[in-house]
Structures are given as structure tokens and as C-alpha cells.
Symmetry: C2
Subunit: 394 residues, 2 copies
Amino acid sequence: MNMRDFTFYTPTKVIFGKDAENRAGVEAKALGATKVLLHYGSGSVIRSGLLKRVEEALTAQGLSYVELGGVVPNPRLGLVYEGIELCRKEKVDLILAVGGGSVIDSAKVIAYGVAEPGDVWEIFDYKRVPTACLPIGVVLTIAATGSEMSNSTVITKEEGGLKRGYNNEICRPKFALMNPALTMTLPDYQTACGCTDIMMHTMERYFSNGGNMEITDALAEGLIRTVMQQARILAKDPQDYDARAEVMWAGSLAHNGLTGLGTDGGDWMPHKLQMELGGKYDVAHGAGLAAIWGTWARYVYRDCMDRFKKFAIRVMGIPDEGDDEAVILKGIEAMEDFYREIGMPTNMRELGVEPTDEDCVEMAKKCAVSVGGAKGSAKVLREPDMLAIYKAAR
Amino acid sequence: MNMRDFTFYTPTKVIFGKDAENRAGVEAKALGATKVLLHYGSGSVIRSGLLKRVEEALTAQGLSYVELGGVVPNPRLGLVYEGIELCRKEKVDLILAVGGGSVIDSAKVIAYGVAEPGDVWEIFDYKRVPTACLPIGVVLTIAATGSEMSNSTVITKEEGGLKRGYNNEICRPKFALMNPALTMTLPDYQTACGCTDIMMHTMERYFSNGGNMEITDALAEGLIRTVMQQARILAKDPQDYDARAEVMWAGSLAHNGLTGLGTDGGDWMPHKLQMELGGKYDVAHGAGLAAIWGTWARYVYRDCMDRFKKFAIRVMGIPDEGDDEAVILKGIEAMEDFYREIGMPTNMRELGVEPTDEDCVEMAKKCAVSVGGAKGSAKVLREPDMLAIYKAAR
């Protein structure tokens, strides 16, 4: 028996397609909401008119609202505290995140904070487990993180620069309104980063030595192939509605759990390695992942030959001929070719950063600490492995 | 723009794996239940000891229960009325279906009936729309219908033999406990029927002329290929846990909506044609579908060439060489070869029935009425088409 037991729980009601944001009022009202916090990031949702449309959708259903903008990438605890205070004062009973992963994550932390007394940071300091969370809705504007259906959130405490993640089923959004047209104004680079992030959420789960489920693999392979195909279309025509839609839905499926069922959950070391890189150099998450992935893959594949071979053949279309190792290496190269094709880097130089040996030592040390010494499923990595990958990825 | 808008809502918490049934008490209690109706079919769940384990799981959490067995395939309204009365008398607040699709469907109708006053048949007579439904849990023992995650239920009113279906989001089960080992005792024929039904739920959605979503196709193709692969394993070794698990999970995914998103929802004429066949001859649902599919496919493929070609190449592995029509026909033949391989029929004779011309006329007439005159997406079929297919499928 190879298959691991699993729980699959995705209660988010997804409304997908043209003008989906106009359902905001109806869906919020159906949940019994009366007063909504509209949470967003920069002024782009104001300039584009999106926020206004959402406001009108709420008003049309007799709901009132207050607003809190200003969420930044790697969202901060300071704004969350502000949001909690505002929600308490205004008796908000639903938080509507209008934006991408950062806005949704910030909304989740506010929702935890409003629902129960005590400092919300205690949850991220693993000192208490929340048992309640205000209902959350989403109007999604960026396809990438999958936070719109996920149970996870990441928040940064400014003091000490502490970035912490926390997963709990109670924070899954109640509804997600996904209009692919809203993602059309994203810059090409950010679109490519999003596609990379989405593929990587699936690939992290795919490269595993723990457990096996054929149907999970088949779904994962289909998802990665589709995103590659659609990312190529978007690199040429960012206004292609269908391609935007494919990528947007793939983003939710890639991180709602579906592509990792029946296994140990996957490897996740590329994400961990990128986290330190991103912490030090402030590079885009997806680009950082692409810059590291090839080096990571070459470093670990000998410990996970079956899956790397399957990946090369089924996802990258490499013919199943000759030496297994040659097939695997061709698969890794083909993925790097794809990254270049959509304008993503395949090493740190292409990413625009040039860490010294000392920088690599520092990142490896931090990375090792962040994973408690060792992590990985394709191959378990420790500090010397991390250092070797950082150096080779330059 | 080819993609259709969609709503995706799958709130069922799935607990999948070894001894999953032992979670019955914990999950029911988490929903606030105090008194449970244990609903089941034949005595097999008693003989196997399953019912006892579920009872113990409830008792261990301080829940009490009452029982109602006797659900038959094509579940009956009479037993539903009995269940509603019992639930009201005993103040049941959660219904736990222990069985396959028929038991779950029966449980859903009882749940509608208990939650609101009035004759529950009115819902199936489309005279009122229910707004409430008692919470439902499932301990699944047969992989086939997907009712454990679906919004649909089918019930038969004995008087007049009226078989009616009704879909509503409020009846989706709150939790589904899926232990693949529970399906190991199914007879081989029933296992093959289940695999056929699961594949057909996906194929019905796949063969469509309305809308297109690449990722939906990729997931559907992966699902069908996986079920074929695993059905072959089960034909040789019915005790293969992993293969049972693959098929069980595929059954839920095939009918929870995932494999039809972004299109018009699919064709569904094979199901409709089989419904009349099943009504007249009492054949197993999956076997009836297999007996009709090849004839249906040959009748309609010219109106849906792109998809039949894609199916032949991506699902059946036919090389993309030469004439499109030849590729398509090879794909259909390959599917029929597969049916034979797992012991399924590919025509009515192999199914064990021999309808006369008059029988075919009668079934075509009934089928046409049941779909309101015409139905289909690969090709819209009317009574003469249906008659031609029934005759040719003999």
C-alpha cells in the first residue's frame, strides 16, 4: 500500500467568469453579513474602477461597508492591527479582500483577530490555536498564490522582520469571485511570475518520495502542462481572456490541496530556498523560484529518479528512450528552456542578483534554521546541501 | 472567448483512507449533532461488522442514534416517508448514510423532508424549492455514483414508477468518510460497472460542443486514463488497496463538477438512453452505459470531431496519424476493447437483452419525452436518432 490517507476540504464557493465581482453583494448577504470591511492594496483597484463596482454591488443589496487599503507585498502586522480595531469599532461581520495573495492573507489575519480576544500574533507565534474566524470573501485580481481557496496565510511582524505562516481550515474564504479579465492589466513579468508560482505549487507536491496516488499525479501533470501552454499564449497576447481564465483557475487548483493528495505533501525546499533569497534581495517570488529550480532539480534527482523520469516524459514530453538519467536531464533542461521562453530567469545572475560566498553561507544558515535543520521529500537537504545549491545557482 | 462562466462549490469534507469510518462520531459531533439516523441498504453492512463500528464511533462521542435499513437500488419514496417520520419522532439532527449512491440519495430526500413541512415529493414534482436540508454524512461503501460529494439525488415514486432527479447545493453531504477497503468485497461485475459509471460521468461532460476549458480537459483525460489503468488492476486483483483507492477518489471527482467546468455541462445522452434501457430491463447502470456508448459515439462523432479526435489521442493513446476519422474510430474501438477486457458489454446482446423493433420504438419514445424532445451537446438527438441508436446497439 503506497497511498497515504488524506483529508480534502475545499468549502470555498467559486464564482468564475465575466463580471464575477458584481456578485459581491449577493454572496455577502447570503452569508448574513450586514457590514463589510473592504480590504485592498494599492490604489490600482480604485483607479481601475473595480472598488467602485464592488461598493455598488454591496450597496445594491443593502449592505454597508468600511474600507482599509494599503496592503503591501509580504503583508504587515501593523495594518492588520489597524484592521482589527476598525472592524471592532464598526461591527464588521465579513471581510472582503479585493486583490491578490497579500491582500487575502492580510484579510485572513484580521479575521482571526476580530473573532477572538487576545493578540492575533500569538497564533503566529504558535502560542494559541484559534477556534473562530470572521467570514472572508475574495475578489481576486492576481492569479498566483491560491490563497483564495487555501487554508494558509503568511504575515510579517515588522519588529525583527519575522515572517510567519499558519494553516487552519477555519480561515478558508467562504466565497471567491474570479473574473479573469481583472488580471489582464498585470505586467508581463508579473504574469510570468504568477504562472511559475502556480506550476511550482504543483511541482513541490509532485517531487516526493512519500506515498503515491496515480490520479493525483495525472491531475498535477495535466495542470502543469496546461499552465505552460497558456503562459506561452499570454507571453504573446496578455489580453487573451481564455488563457487568463485557464491560469486563474489553475492557480486555485494548484494550492487547494487537490494536486498533493495521497502523498506526504511534497518537497517544498525550492520554496524554502527562495524564501531566504527573497528575504535578502527582494526579488519577485515566482522569479526567485525559477532561478533556483533547475539547480535544485539537478542536485536532488538521483534520490527521486522515478518521479523525475515521469515528469520528463509526461509533463515535458521527452521521449522515453535510452538512459533514465539522460531522459531526466533533458526534462530539467526543457523546463529551463520554458522559463527563458516566458522571460523567467534560470539562475541568480539572470535574476539580477550576485550573492558572494558569504551571502550564500548566510542564506543557507537562515534556511536551515527556518526548516528546523533539514527538510525535503525528493531529497532531505541540510545546511551544506543548501549552501551547495545557492552557490551552484549563481 | 470560448470558456463558459461557472460556479464551483464542493463543501464536503472528505476523510479518505484506512478506518475512515471510525471518524463518524467525531465529525457528526463537530457539526453539533446529538441524534443520528443510520441509514443503510441490505444486511451486508451488518454482516461485515461495518454498522457496528460506526455505531461504536457514534457512542464513543456521546451521540445516540436510530436506524433505518432497507434501501434498494433505485431507492423508493415509501422508505423515505418512513425515514422522515422516524426522524421527526426521534428528533434526529443528522443523517448518516452508510452505503453507496442509493443509500446516499435516499438520505438526501429524507433530509429535505425533515427540514421543512409539506410533502417532500413536491420538490421532485418541481412544485416548490427547498430552502433547508438536514445535515448529511456519508460512510461510502461503493465507488460509482459520486453522490457523496454531489448536489444531486434521484428517487422513485412507486405509484406510476416515477423516477425523478433533483439538484440543489443545500443537499451536498457535510462529510464523506471514504475507506477504500470497504469496497473490496464488491463482486467483480459491480466493480467494473462502477468504473464504467465513473468514466462515463467524465466522458458525458467531455463530449461537448459548448465551450472549452483546457485545464478541465486535461483533468478529465487524466481521470479517465487513471480509472482505466486501475480497473485493469482490479480485474486481476480485487484486493488491491491502492487501486480501490484510486477508483474511489476518481468517483467523487468525476461527479463533483470539477471535470465539466467552463463548458455547457456536456452531452448526457448516453445516460438518458441507458435510463430507459435500465427501466425496461433492470440491467446494471454501468453495464447499460457500456452497451450503448460505442453505438452512440459512432452515431454522433461527425458533429464533434475535435473532441473525439482529442479523446482518441490523449485518452486512448491512438497515434495522431492519417485521416481524422480513422483516428476517431480507432479511439472508439479501443474503448470498446477496454470494456470487453474488464467484462463489460459493448452491445445489448452482450448485456443479455434482446429488444425487438417495437421495444426500441417504445424506449425511444420514452427517452424523447424524458428529455423534452431533444437533448445532447456532442450532437442534439431527437426520437428518430434515439431509435436508430437503440436498434444499432443490439
